[in-house]
C-alpha cells in the first residue's frame, strides 16, 4: 500500500510530507526531488523506481504530488487516489497552488489522516468529508450525539455520498450533457479516428433520499423496447434517433448490477454537483466542422497556407468560441493573413496563426489565407507540419445523445416527479480536433 505522500512546489521544496509506513524514510523525500523534479531530462514515466522504492507522481499547475511505496501496490488505485486527493483539495480551497497549500497545511494533514489509513484509501467523497472536517476548526465538539452517529454512518455507509434530512423549498435538477468530440483527419479529408467522449453532469437540489431514474436514447434499450411490441410508428421514429454507446462508466451512486442486467440507470443522487456518467461513442458522429487545409511551399523561404472551414449542422444553430490554430515553422520571420470572418493573428510565442471567430451558424463556410515568410536555415531537418487544431462550442450533442427522461421518486416526502423543476442542456465542445496538413 501507499507508504507515504509528499507534496512539493516547483523548486522541489517539500510542502506536505506524510509517511504511513515504516519502510519509507525521510530520504525518500529527497530521492524524488533529486531524481525526478531536478532531473535534467524530461520525465519519461509517471512511475519511477529509485533504489527499490516506487514513486507515482502527478502534477497540478506547478505542484508535484508524489505517492511512495516499496510494495507491489495497485498502481491504478494509487493514481486514482492522487486524482481524488486533488479533487478533495480543490473542493476545499479551489485552486491547488503553493500559496493555498501552505495556507491550508493543517487542513491537508487532517484530510490525509482521514482519507488514507496505513496507506489504504478510505472514503474520500468531499461531500461527506466536509461534514466533519472543516476549515473553521472542528465542528464535531458541538455536534450532538445524533449528529455524530449520522456523520459516521454516512462516511461508512452504503450511501456515503448523501446525508439524510436534506430539505429544499424548491426541488430542482440541472442536467448537462457535455460532450467533447475528437477527430483526426487526413489532409485528404479522410477520417482517421473520431470519437465522442461525453459526460452527464448533474446538479441536484432535492429533498430527502430521492430515487432517480435516468433514460436516454441508448440503442440497446430502444431495440429492446421495440422487441416488446412497440407500434411500428414508434420504432421507425425512435430507431433513427437511437445511438450506439461503446462503453460507459458511472458515478458510484449508480447501481451497476442493475445496469448490467436491465440497462437501466437508477441511483440516489449526491447533493449538489456531481458527474453521473461518462460514455464514449464512435458511430454516426456529427462532425460539426470540417477543415480543409492547403499548404504550399514556395521556394525555401516562403509558405502559402489556405484553410477553409465548413460548419456542418442545422443552419438555425450557432457555434461559438471558434478558434483555429495553424502551426507555423520555427524559422518564421513574418506572416500576412487575410480572413473573411473573425480575427486572425500570428502568435510567434506559440508558433501558430490563431484565427478566432465569435459565432458561426450552421451550413456556412469561411476561409483564411496566409503567406509565411521564412528565415533561411541550414538545418537539414524538415519542418514536421503539426496538425491544424480547432476549438469550438456547439449547442447540441455531436454523438446524437438525447435525454428521454429523468424521473424522481421520493416516497417519504410529499413531492412527486412533476413537482421537480428539471433543466436539460446540451453542449458539444471540441476535444482534440485535428486535421493533418
Amino acid at each position: 500500500m501507499i507508504g507515504g505522500l509528499f507534496i512539493y512546489n516547483h523548486k522541489g521544496e517539500v510542502l506536505i510530507s506524510r509517511v504511513y509506513r515504516d519502510d519509507i524514510g525521510r530520504n525518500a523525500v529527497d530521492a524524488f526531488r533529486v531524481n525526478v523534479i531536478h532531473a535534467r531530462q524530461q520525465v519519461r514515466s509517471p512511475v519511477t523506481n529509485i533504489a527499490r522504492t516506487s514513486f507515482f507522481h502527478v502534477k497540478r499547475s506547478n505542484i508535484w504530488l508524489a505517492a511512495v511505496t516499496k510494495q507491489n501496490v495497485n498502481a491504478a488505485m494509487v493514481f486514482e487516489f492522487l486524482y481524488k486527493m486533488c479533487d478533495v483539495m480543490t473542493a476545499y480551497f479551489s485552486k491547488i497552488s503553493e500559496e493555498n497549500i501552505k495556507n491550508n497545511f493543517v487542513l491537508i494533514y487532517e484530510l490525509l489522516d482521514e482519507i488514507l489509513d496505513f496507506g489504504y484509501p478510505q472514503n474520500s467523497e468531499s461531500g461527506a468529508l466536509k461534514t466533519f472536517i472543516t476549515q473553521q476548526g472542528i465542528k464535531s465538539q458541538h455536534h450532538s450525539k445524533d449528529e455524530q452517529s449520522q456523520i459516521t454512518s454516512q462516511v461508512t455507509g452504503q450511501i456515503g455520498w448523501r446525508r439524510e434530512g436534506i430539505k429544499y423549498r424548491r426541488n430542482e435538477l440541472f442536467l448537462d450533457v457535455l460532450e467533447s468530440v475528437n477527430l483526426l483527419m487526413s489532409p485528404q479529408g479522410q477520417v482517421l479516428s473520431a470519437h465522442v467522449s461525453g459526460r452527464v453532469v448533474m446538479k441536484s437540489y432535492l429533498s430527502g433520499m430521492p430515487e432517480c431514474k435516468f433514460g436516454m436514447n441508448d440503442k440497446i434499450v430502444i431495440d429492446k423496447q421495440q422487441g416488446k411490441g412497440a407500434t411500428s410508428d414508434d420504432s421507425a421514429k425512435s430507431g433513427k434517433q437511437s445511438i450506439a454507446i461503446d462503453d460507459c462508466t458511472f458515478h458510484q451512486c449508480v447501481r451497476l448490477s442493475k445496469f448490467d442486467s436491465e440497462r437501466s440507470i437508477s441511483f440516489i443522487p449526491p447533493d449538489g454537483d456531481y458527474e453521473l456518467m461518462r460514455y464514449r461513442t464512435t458511430k454516426d458522429i456529427i462532425l460539426p466542422f470540417r477543415v480543409i487545409p492547403l499548404v504550399r511551399e514556395v521556394g525555401r523561404t516562403k509558405l502559402e497556407v489556405k484553410v477553409v472551414i465548413k460548419s456542418n449542422f442545422k443552419a438555425s444553430l450557432l457555434a461559438q468560441k471558434i478558434e483555429v490554430r495553424i502551426p507555423t515553422p520555427l524559422n518564421t520571420s513574418g506572416v500576412q493573413v487575410i480572413c473573411m470572418k473573425g480575427k486572425a493573428k500570428y502568435k510567434a510565442s506559440d508558433n501558430a496563426i490563431v484565427w478566432k471567430i465569435k459565432r458561426m451558424a450552421g451550413m456556412k463556410e469561411s476561409q483564411i489565407s496566409a503567406e509565411i515568410e521564412l528565415l533561411p536555415t541550414n538545418e537539414k531537418k524538415k519542418w514536421t507540419r503539426p496538425p491544424i487544431s480547432m476549438n469550438f462550442e456547439v449547442p447540441f450533442a455531436p454523438s446524437g445523445l438525447k435525454v428521454r427522461y429523468l424521473k424522481v421518486f421520493e416516497s417519504k416526502l410529499n413531492y412527486s416527479d412533476h413537482d421537480v423543476i428539471k433543466w436539460v442542456r446540451y453542449i458539444g465542445r471540441s476535444g482534440i480536433y485535428e486535421t493533418r496538413c
Binding site: 521544496e13 517539500v14 506536505i16 509506513r21 515504516d22 525521510r26 523525500v29 512511475v47 523506481n49 527499490r52 511505496t69 516499496k70 507491489n72 501496490v73 495497485n74 498502481a75 491504478a76 488505485m77 493514481f79 486514482e80 501552505k102 491550508n104 497545511f105 493543517v106 494533514y109 487532517e110 489522516d113 496505513f118 489504504y120 484509501p121 478510505q122 476548526g137 464535531s140 455536534h143 450525539k145 455524530q148 459516521t152 454512518s153 462516511v155 461508512t156 455507509g157 456515503g160 482517421l192 467522449s197 462503453d247 462508466t249 458511472f250 458515478h251 458510484q252 451497476l256 448490467d260 456518467m277 461518462r278 537539414k380 531537418k381 524538415k382 514536421t384 503539426p386 487544431s389 485535428e434
Partner: protein, 948 residues
Amino acid sequence: MTDSKYFTTTKKGEIFELKAELNSDKKEKKKEAVKKVIASMTVGKDVSALFPDVVNCMQTDNLELKKLVYLYLMNYAKSQPDMAIMAVNTFVKDCEDPNPLIRALAVRTMGCIRVDKITEYLCEPLRKCLKDEDPYVRKTAAVCVAKLHDINAQLVEDQGFLDTLKDLISDSNPMVVANAVAALSEIAESHPNSNLLDLNPQSINKLLTALNECTEWGQIFILDCLANYTPRDDRESQSICERVTPRLSHANSAVVLSAVKVLMKFMEMLPKDLDYYGTLLKKLAPPLVTLLSAEPELQYVALRNINLIVQKRPEILKHEMKVFFVKYNDPIYVKLEKLDIMIRLASQANIAQVLAELKEYATEVDVDFVRKAVRAIGRCAIKVEQSAERCVSTLLDLIQTKVNYVVQEAIVVIKDIFRKYPNKYESVIATLCENLDSLDEPEARAAMIWIVGEYAERIDNADELLESFLEGFHDESTQVQLQLLTAIVKLFLKKPTETQELVQQVLSLATQDSDNPDLRDRGYIYWRLLSTDPVAAKEVVLAEKPLISEETDLIEPTLLEELICHIGTLASVYHKPPSAFVEGSRGVQHKRIPIRSGSGESSESQDTGGAPGATEAPAAVIPSQGDLLGDLLNLDLTPPTSTAGAPPGPPMPMGGMDLLGGGLDSLLGGDIGGSPSMGSGFGAPAAVMPSSLNAPVGGGLGDLFDLGGGVGMPMGTFVPPKTLWLPAMKGKGLEIMGTFARRAGVIQMEMTLTNKAMSVMTDFAIQFNRNSFGLAPAGPLQVPTPLSPNQTIDVSLPLNNGGPVMKMEPLNNLQVAVKNNIDVFYFSCQYPISMLFVEDGKMDRQVFLATWKDIPNENEAQFQINDCHLNSDAASNKLQGSNVFTIAKRTVEGQDMLYQSMKLTNGICVLTELRVQTGSPTYTVSLKCRAAEVSQCVFQCYEAALKN
C-alpha cells in the same frame, strides 16, 4: 492571518522560543506554536527536542490541536520511546470517548506509534474498538490490526485479533468488510502458507455482496482479494465472473482494472465453447478502450496492462487498432506505449492504416519516439508479409530525409528485413551504402557491416568498405568488432583472391591485439576453421540462416501468466515479477492462473493455483545456449547442428578448392606451422589442432559441438520392458512378448516368440492394421523357421511410417496380425509415443517462443508426475535420450523450468514446459501442441522416461 507564515520561520534560537510558546497559558498561542512545530517538521527540520512540551498539549478539548499533536507523536515517538509512554493514558481515555470520531482517531493514531511499550497498552482498547457499535470505529480498528501486525506479528496472533478480524468479513457494514479484507490480505502475504483468508464459496459470496455496496476503494480491495481465489470448477468461475462484470462500468479505473484481472484469470477456467465465454470476451474490450480516455498517468498504467492482455488474448482488442493511434499532445510515455501495442495489433487487415500512421510519427520531434516508430515499420514488414514491400519503400523514403538517427534506425531494421525475406529487397543495398559515413551508433554500424559481409558478392567495393571500418578497429565497440571480423571472413570466403591481406589483418587484430575474450575466441575459431578446412569454414560461416521469427519481444509465457495475475499493480507496469522490485518476502508470492477443470475433478488444480511459495531470485529472460552459440559463429539463430554433424556439403569445384587451399597455406601456414590436412571433417577437432592453439580453442570448440550434439548419437534411449502381447492360450501355442525401441533413428518392434505348442511352426508373416501414425513393417518378419516346440527366439522388426493412417483410440494403439502355418492371430499393443520422436526435434528458441504463443491456449494440457526424484539436469538428460530436447532452462524461485520440444515422425511438434521444484518429487508438465490429442501419450512417455 494565514497559515503559510509558519513556513517562513528561520530564525536562530527558534526552538527555544517555540518551547516557551508551547508552555504558554493561552490556548491560541499554544495552537500557533504546535502549527509552527509541524511546519518545521514538514520541511525536514529536527524538532524532536520539543517532545515533552508538545505532548503536554495533548490533553485538550480542541480536536484540531489534538490531531496536530498526534501527527507530531507519530513522527517522533520512535526516537523518544520513553517519553511516548506519557501519551498512553490520553489514548486509552480517548478510546472510551462518547464521540465515535474521537475513539477512531485514538485507535488510528495509536497504531501508528511504533513503540513496543505502547503496543502493549494498545491491545485492550483495540479489542473493544473491533467490537464497537459504530462502524466508523470498527473499520478503523480493522486497519489497526494490520498496523499492529506490522510491529509485532506474534502479539496479534497471541491476542486472537486475527479471528476477530475474520469475523469482520461478515460485518453488516460494507466498508468494515472492505477494510477487514484489505488488512487480512496484507497479513496473509507475510504468512504465505496460512489459510488466513480462508476463501470458500460462502465467504466469496459475502465478498461479492459487499462489492455492490462499498466505496470505490473497498471494491478494489475486494476485487484484488478475489483474484487470489481459485474457483472449484467452471460453474463457480462463471458465476463469479457474472457478478464481477458490472464493475467494468465503474468510473474508477482501478476498479475496472481489478475487475479485468479477476475476469482474465477466471476465464482460463471456462470451457471455450461456452457461449458465456464469447460474451465475456466481447465485454472486455469497451472498458479497456475507455481507460484510454482517463488522465495520462492512468492511461500509462492501462497501456502497460493492455500490452500484457494483448499478448495473452489478442482477440479481445484486434478490432480496436484506431484507439491506439498516437495523439499529438499525448505525453511521451503514452506515445511510446501506444506504439508498442499498435505493432502487436498490426495485421493484414489494418496494416495500410498502421503504416500511414507510423510514417507520420517518424517525422515527429522526440528522438526516442521517432526511433521506435522507424523500428516499428521494420517490425510490421516482418510481421505482415504482404506489407513488406511498402514498408521497405517507406524506410527508403525515410533514409532520404538524411536525418541521422532516422537513417541509422532504418538500417538496423532493414537488416532484419533481409533476414526475413532473403533475395528480395537487396536492390536497396546501394542506397544503404551511400549513408555509410553518417553512421555513428554501434548498432547501426554493426548492421551495415553485416549487410556488407552478407552480400559481399553483390557489392563491388565491399573490401574497400570493410577496410575503411578496419582502420579504427580498436576504437569500435565490441558489437562492431565482432561483426567486422565475421563480415571480413565472409568476404574472404566469397572473394578469396583479393582479400587475403584483409582477413589476415583482421584475424591478427582480433586475436593478438584485443583483450576481449569473446573477440579473441571468435578470431581463433575462424582462424582454425580457415586453416583446417576451408570447405567446412564455408559451410559454417556462410550457412543458410533460418528466417527470423515474427515476434521477437514477447514476454515469456510463464512470466506473462504471472503478470496477468498482477494486472493493475506495479508488477504489470514494470513488466517484472514483484520479487524483482520488492524487498523481503512480503507481496512477492508467485501467482499463477488456475488450470481449467470440469465440475467433476477439482481438488488437484487447487494446490497449484492457491498456495504459492515464497521467492527470492528475480526471474530473468531465458538464458539460452542456442543464442550464445549462434552469436559465437554469427549465425544469430542457427542451431549449428545441421552443419556440424552433417557430412561435408557439395564438393567444391577443383579450381576453387585449390585456390582456397593454396591461399590459405601461404596465408596462414607460417603463423600456425605445419597445418594439418585440409578437408578433414569436424569429427575430431581437437586432434587436428596445432598444440600452440589447442588450449584456448580446443575446449571452446569441443563445448561447441557438444552443445549442438545429439544428432544420431546413440544415447540411453528408454526402452520399456517387454510385455505379453499374445498369450499362448490365444495363439494356439504361440506366445509373443514384445516392446518397441528406437535405435539409430529407426523404430524397432522387438519381439520374443516362444513356441509352446507341440508342433513346429513355420511360415511367419506379420501385418499391421491402419494406425494413427502410419506405422508399417519396413521388411518381412525374419523368423528362422522352423520354430521347434519350446524354442524361443528374439526378432527385431524395423518399422517405417509410410503405411496408411487412421486415427486409433487410444492414439498409440497398434493392431497386429501374425500368421504362421497354424493360423492367423490378432492382437493389439500400444507403443510409447517417444518412439516417434525424431532426432532433429530440437526447436530454435525464438521459434519455440513464437510457436508457444501461437498455439491457442485451449490446446494446453497440464500433468503432474509424482515421486520423481531426479534433478532437472538429470531429467533433461534422460529425456534427451528419448529425443525430447531441452531448449532452455530457467530457474525461478527454486523452481527449474525446462523448455522442451519434440517432433513426431509426421511433423507434429510438441512443446512442453517442465517444472521441477527443488526438493519436491512432483513435476509439472505443461504441454502445448497443435494436435492436442497427442498430449496424453506424450505425458505417458514423460512419466515412463523419467521414472525409468
